[in-house]
Assembly symmetry: D2
Homo-oligomer: 350 residues x 4
């Protein structure tokens, strides 16, 4: 493990957690809720830097909650669980048997895409004519898929905290301008095919979308799963519908925080050995919390794949129609050498 990077949480541990004096800069990750359909990298990076600076200025005593979840992440890490050099993470829980069982869930063959429309910021055509009126067109795509717009999967290498990346690796060693040399997306090239479960928070609450003042709690996931009659088991893909379409249409300006999942959901995910978390609204941001990766932390601490910016309203509607909330889930990441993730078009099949 990266000994030089451990000072942050080691310090937290030495201080008993609750006494943590200067937590890492509060930062919600590369995925602020936004309706902006496209962004340029410099703009994004500037926004990130500004957020981080603002947070650093505002740093004060950490909340007891912060200390609790930092300790939870530290104490329950999956580092080493599948071998010290493992780069597959919680997707190890999806065995061949698990995949075959997922296929066994299929009844009608109805499919629902979980992807938003993808509009790459650079999308250009080149058309060529052949003789006799024939021809062809090719398109150039250029994009950063991370952020809060494009439906994509995060590879294990995507984020880290003061203790390091997945397995405690050092990002200064593993990430160069040439790419990610540990935990890149090619380790998931055989796809994520497993049982999918949809947790429909708005329908359960009877509200159009999750609100900033009331993040989704881990206990709520339990309650909704029970109400829906589904059981979250090891290796499952957990999809939490928070109502992104409705929230973005509401015109909320974010000044009261961002709606999404509370860190207690990370505990639920670890308790049930979930393999993949899919969501339409990501980590909730509210109150005095200074956690850098409130729920995103499941990625590098537990090895859980993240499906960001999933389009979950259609699958939620379909589950309601079908009267069932589990299905065969398929996500086939592009096999990008040294890549930090992949845009994706995940499919649910009933």
């Amino acid at each position: 493990m990266a000994s030089s990077r451990r000072r942050f949480l080691m310090h937290a541990a030495a201080m008993g957690g609750a006494a943590l004096a200067r937590p890492s800069a509060a930062f919600a990750g590369p995925a602020p809720a936004s309706t902006t359909p496209a962004f340029s990298p410099p703009e994004l990076l500037r926004r990130h830097a500004a957020n981080a600076r603002a947070a650093a200025v505002a740093t004060q005593s950490p909340t007891p909650d912060d200390a609790r979840y930092l300790a939870m992440y530290r104490d329950r890490r999956n580092w080493g669980r599948w071998g010290d050099d493992d780069q597959v993470g919680a997707l190890n829980l999806i065995t061949a048997e698990k995949r075959a069982a997922a296929a066994g869930l299929v009844q009608s063959g109805r499919t629902i895409s979980l992807s938003r429309i993808f509009e790459p910021p650079q999308h250009f055509m080149t058309k060529s004519e052949l003789g006799g009126g024939g021809g062809f067109v090719m398109d150039y795509l250029g994009f950063i898929y991370h952020g809060s717009t494009v439906t994509h999967i995060d590879a294990l290498c995507h984020i880290w905290d003061g203790d390091g990346m997945w397995q405690g690796r050092d990002p200064d060693v593993e990430i160069t301008t040439q790419g990610a040399h540990f935990g890149d997306i090619t380790h998931w090239s055989s796809g994520v095919i497993t049982k999918g479960i949809l947790i429909d928070v708005p329908r359960h609450r009877g509200e159009p979308h999750v609100t900033p003042d009331r993040p989704v709690q881990g206990t709520e996931l339990d309650a909704i799963a029970n109400a829906q009659g589904v059981s979250v088991e090891p290796g499952d893909a957990l999809l939490v519908h928070s109502g992104w379409e409705s929230y973005t249409a509401s015109g909320d300006d974010g000044s009261q925080g961002r709606p999404g999942l509370h860190p207690s959901c990370a505990e639920f995910i670890r308790d049930h050995d979930v393999a993949l978390l899919g969501w339409d609204l990501m980590d909730a941001r509210m109150g005095a919390s200074q956690l850098p990766w409130p729920v995103h932390g499941v990625l590098f601490n537990f090895g859980v794949a993240l499906l960001d910016n999933a389009r979950l309203e259609p699958i939620a509607a379909a589950c309601a129609e079908e009267g069932r909330h589990e299905f065969m889930f398929m996500l086939l990441p592009l096999n990008v050498a040294r890549g930090t993730g992949s845009p994706a078009n995940p499919i649910a099949m009933f």
Copy 2:
């Protein structure tokens, strides 16, 4: 249909086909067999233009074979078969029942990726530090996936001949610098999930790879399917293994033509109502043929999806091990607005 674009094949018809005097420039499509792992658009376009010019210069009397397959394409088009405005094509043959039956093929849950490693020509990292040693990395991908390198699916709009695009649409109207306005990849956003069949030509021939002097024939597909004990049915995904890895390692310089599929395979595909053709070596190029789209023509004439540059050696090996040549096939194209196709990581599951 695009009346102004019909002169080429209409002329061919008037001349009785065999008398066709000036066929379209011979052109093998945007996918010359090559081991080059990456290319830049101008280079590709220059190569294409040079090929097209060379062919135009060399134009002479068409072969009887050319006339036969031009007539075959013209006479058996699927334009209008699923309605005049249909943009789904032969994927209409993949019904919900067909998908459910494909899932029913799953026994062990073993999965095999059909994708090559993807190395985008533009692949760059941006790394950002947060406080306390935390941080994240994002990558920028820039690429044209068409060509002979990247595993990808062609959308219906990708190519055309003198009669027009799929359904006879006019490419001058439907394709602008803003993208494809008919037959784009979003029409296949619910994925291609169906029964997959692997036709293993090298194993059947007892040779490491298909050679330029002996393209794969439609009758051979029949013979191999029979020998393998599989039946090609409407809506199936047909994967033809020609031995790309072995061929590219052989150092063949292409001067004797390119190995691949003979136009008679297009007839087989139409006879069996195949929904998708996947291949590792594409249209064969040899002899005096001047056909612009020898087998690629199944795309805009029949509405058959093309999976170009599939990696088929591992699935061929797995089929031999498993003693079965059919499986659940999954290909989930990125949902790119106005896109002409998508890079892909298709998966076969036993």
Copy 3:
């Protein structure tokens, strides 16, 4: 000339100009004043389309001013002035003698850059190590320079109206996905080196910047030139300082129109045979005008090069210090094959 494209202004002529019933959609060109430091093409295109639609909806009777300037452009075009196939335009006015005379203006050798900082939306590093601690870094730049951010020069092919491009050429023929085949930037590869004149509107008005309600008039350019003691002569580069820095800092929301140059400036430019217009705020937008290219029209009608988004505050300050408003002007466009312009770093030397 492109006969099929002439209906718009021909119609205007037949109607006597003032009776013009349906002018082209009002559109300010690809350069709305903005403080946004970077943009993605889809966003820009959407904005443009929205502008154009809004304008089309609002179309009503054209103002007498519109009719006057449409007639002015039509009647005073430079098409054919330097030969029917000329692709150099008003830069023909910059003779070798003119350049030599410009060099003769140099006294102190003081230089001022007229370029803003350039932050390409795609700007990525690749660093490679050699043995012994050596290495090198290369950067990838990806950008569209047109718009209101990047300092750049427009080539003759960049814009057109219903009568066509420069020389009346048809954009449907001359512009393909492969590039511009007439009037591209390579025709200006020997650089724009001439006498430069700075017209300092804010200093003359005694105000920090031009305001939306009071665009810069052609007569005002005359008055300022006289007051500054300079004479605008054929082949000169005319730089009009409107106070971009101050305007963007003012927080004006654009609801009362955009400050900039009135179409009467186009008449001034034609009267004096200016070769290049450089500006920091572009075409003014106000009132009921429906002109698509109020001042941008000098590009394709007169063949005058446009230097958009120049940084003119420093040169304005230097002119005030030096007590002279003319200098040697240098702009050396990148020699981009088939390009529609070039980012630039123009230099003024005293």
Copy 4:
């Protein structure tokens, strides 16, 4: 200075230079002579890596020449000469007086571009229609300009050896994925305007181009300058014509080395305090030399700007016609924030 990076040349010094046991991997810089008009970054990087590995394998005793030039670079560095934090380098030698004197060289106003045609690997068009037949076209450019194709200038930060970058700075600190934080191209934003001198090696030798077996020597530069009647003075731009067009047309396969400049030219450059070196063929590669940066070393050791891939045949022909080999030289780099250089279209004016 970067103490941790000095081991390579410090070791060389301790060993007396001639006893240097393991020099840095031989590497010719990012600019192997090539006729390839465009390249993709991964391809380039792979080629570089292969070169570097091949060289590392071949490492043996350094030649006496290697030792001599390593010592020359070390002993005559300009680090600190213009202050410890200076980021302008030898361009400090181009004073305002020097620029004014360069303008004073202008007689006829004849201009010659020193740029090759620029074909960006990513060059795409987006065309938009307005009402009434009007419209506009914008192009997207994407490229890495470093390498042996594009005419460009290297910023001070571009390369380094074991002792560090310009001024001894540490590339691990100064170069991040966000860009170059020391010695970037913006420090040269006021342009490189000075006296230019053309050294025409092929005409002097009476041969069409420099050959691999006979690199250009520093003493030869002296001899040619004398024969041409020019004097190389502090702050000059030195352009060395080696006959790139003729060499690339010759079909030489590079197996006998690459033609270009011998490290003794670096000594000449330092002796005469040249500010910029422009060349069409770069560092010669031949024999047993293991120098990583034979002549490129003038960049980070002396602070001399490099103009790579200049097109020098036209200016050589013009100098012969004019009977003079000095002129006003202008190079105006794009003002790219944190950039490692810039593509350029330098101009010579007589």
